[in-house]
Assembly symmetry: C2
C-alpha cells in the first residue's frame, strides 16, 4: 500500500501507511486482528493534531469586571471517512457510508460519559473555500463544555413553538414540505432532504429524519441505512449541479444532557460555499440569496443518482 501525497509533496497524514503522522488513534473500523495505528482500517478516529479544545484539565470560570472567562476544555477529533485518498463520502459503498455514521454515534456515546461535556458538534468542511486544509475525506467532532449559542437559539425557538402548539416544529416542517413538494430534493422511507424556506445560502440543504428523533445517538439501524442513501443522493446532486462545490456540513443534535426532547429534532445542514459572507450579512444576520430555494430544489431533484 502506498502512502498518498497531498498538495506539494507532503505525504497525506490521513492515508494508510502514514498512521504515525496523526496522534494515536481513538478508534477504528478495521479488519479483525489489525494492530492500532497500522493500515487495514476503513474508518479511523484520531485526535486533531491542532485541537481547538483539549480534554485535559479542569473548567475554571473567572470574571474580569464586565467579562466572563472559562477554560477551553473539550475534545476535538477527526473522523477519517475512508482509507482511499481518491474517494469522497458519496463515493463510498452503502456499507462503508453506514460505518461512518456508526462512528459518529459511537463517538457521541463514548464522550457522553464525561460529565464536563455538554454538547458535541459533528461537522465537515470540504474544499479550500469551506476552510478545509486537507483533501482526504474526513469529518470533525468538537465536544464543548457549554451548549453552543446557535443550538440554544434553535432550541429556544422550537421550545416556544412547542409551548404554543404542542408539536415539534421540525415535524411540522417535514409534513408541510412533503405536502407542498416545492422544496423537496429527495425523500426515502427514513429521511427527507429539502432546500429550506428562506435559505441563507444558494443550494443550502437540510436533511431531517421523517419520524420525530431528538437524539442522533439513538439512531436505529434501519435509519442509518436510509441516512447513508440520502446523503449519497444529496451530494451526487450537488456535485452534478454545482460541479463538486466546497461545502460545510453540520449535524445539529440535542445537547448531551437533554435527551428525548419533545420539541427538538436532529438534522443535518449542508451549506455549499458559492458566495462570500460579507458586510451586510455580518452586520444584520440577514442573508442575500440570489437562488431561491424553490429554484435550487427544481435543479437538484432532476439529477439522476447512482445507488449502491
Amino acid at each position: 500500500m502506498h502512502a498518498r501525497e497531498s498538495q506539494g509533496s507532503v505525504p497525506c497524514p490521513f492515508c494508510p501507511g502514514n498512521e504515525e503522522k496523526t496522534p494515536p488513534e481513538i478508534s477504528a473500523y478495521s479488519s479483525p486482528g489489525r494492530l492500532p495505528n497500522r493500515p487495514g482500517w476503513w474508518v479511523r478516529v484520531v485526535p486533531n493534531k491542532y485541537p481547538a479544545l483539549r480534554v485535559e484539565g479542569q473548567i475554571h470560570r473567572t470574571g474580569d469586571h464586565l467579562y466572563d472567562k472559562m477554560d477551553g476544555l473539550g475534545a476535538h477529533e477527526v473522523i477519517i471517512e475512508t482509507e482511499d485518498h481518491g474517494k469522497q463520502l458519496e463515493d463510498l459503498s452503502d456499507e462503508r457510508l453506514q460505518d461512518v455514521f456508526w462512528t459518529y454515534r459511537d463517538r457521541i456515546n463514548d464522550l457522553k460519559k464525561d460529565p464536563r461535556l455538554e454538547y458535541i458538534l459533528i461537522f465537515k468542511n470540504r474544499g479550500v473555500a469551506a476552510g478545509a486544509s486537507l483533501a482526504h475525506a474526513h469529518s470533525q467532532l468538537i465536544a464543548t463544555p457549554m451548549v453552543p449559542i446557535r443550538v440554544k437559539q434553535e432550541m429556544r425557538g422550537a421550545d416556544d413553538y412547542y409551548e404554543r402548539r404542542g408539536r415539534c416544529i421540525f415535524c411540522d416542517m417535514v409534513q408541510q414540505e412533503l405536502a407542498q413538494k416545492v422544496r423537496v430534493v429527495d425523500e426515502n422511507p427514513g429521511f427527507v432532504a429539502i432546500t429550506p424556506f428562506a435559505s441563507r445560502f444558494p443550494f443550502e440543504i437540510s436533511v431531517l429524519p421523517k419520524k420525530h428523533r431528538s437524539d442522533f445517538s439513538e439512531i436505529p439501524k434501519s435509519e442509518v441505512i436510509e441516512l447513508g442513501r440520502m446523503i449519497k443522493s444529496v451530494f451526487q446532486r450537488l456535485n452534478r449541479v454545482l460541479d463538486n462545490p466546497s461545502y460545510n456540513f453540520v449535524l445539529h443534535d440535542s445537547p448531551l444532557k437533554d435527551s428525548h426532547l419533545e420539541y427538538y429534532h436532529w438534522h443535518i445542514e449542508i451549506m455549499p460555499k458559492l458566495s462570500q459572507t460579507a458586510g451586510f450579512e455580518w452586520g444584520t444576520g440577514f442573508y442575500i440569496n440570489p437562488t431561491p430555494p424553490e429554484q435550487a430544489a427544481e435543479y437538484l431533484k432532476e439529477i439522476e443518482t447512482i445507488a449502491g
Copy 2:
C-alpha cells in the same frame, strides 16, 4: 480626466467620466456649479445597480402555513468615497474623509423620512476575500423594513444590562478598556479603537465614541473630525501589520424609530478576512480565533501612523 480601467479592460463604473455607468446619482459632494452625473465630485451616492432591496412598491405580509413572507422593500445605495481610483478610505485627507462620514449622516437623515424603513446598515467590503466586486473605494447602505436580527440581539443584551445596572454596557466597556489598556489600539478625544474581548476574528476591531451616543445621525462636527482620524489610524495600522487585508466594516446604529436610547451606543466593527468561517463556526455560533485580541492590540498599537 481619464476613466480608469478596473480588472481586465472593463472601465471602472465608479471613476469620473463613467458616471453614466451607474444609475443616476442621489447626491454628491462636488464643486459649485457642477451638473449631476458629471465629473467634479469627490463623494458620490448612487443606487446600487443590482439592488438587494428596492424603494418601489408596498410591504405585503403573507403567511404560508409555518412560514412568513414579506416584500423586500428598502433601499440599496453605493457611496463612492473618492474620485481617485488609486486611493482607499485611509489615504484621503482629513477633510475628504469627513465628507464621507457627512454623507453617511445625510443619507440616514434623508431615508429616515420614509416611514416604511426601520433600519439602515452602512457597511463596506474591501477585497475579493471580503466579497467586494469592485476595487474603487466605496461603502454601501442598505435600508430595511425591519430591524436586523443581529442588531436586535445586541440591543436586547444591552437593554438587559441597562435594566439591571442602570448603565450603558458600551460605556462601561469603553471605561474598562481605557483603564486596563490591554486591548486599546488607539484613542483620541472622541473615540477609542479596541480589539474586543473574546474577538471572533483575528485582528477584529471595534471603534466606539467615548461619550454615550446612540444615534450616528446626530454626530457633532467635532466627533466627525475625530472619527476620521481614528479610522485613518486603524486602517493604517491594519495595512501595516496585515499587508492590506481584505475586510468587512459595519456601522451598528440604533434603529430609525428608536432615537436617544439610554442603553444603546453606536459603533463600528471591522473584521479582517484572514480565515474562512467553516463548519464549526456555522454550527455553533462560536469562533475559533488563533490570535488573542490582547496580542493583536499589542501589534497594532506599535505602528506609527501618518496624520493629515
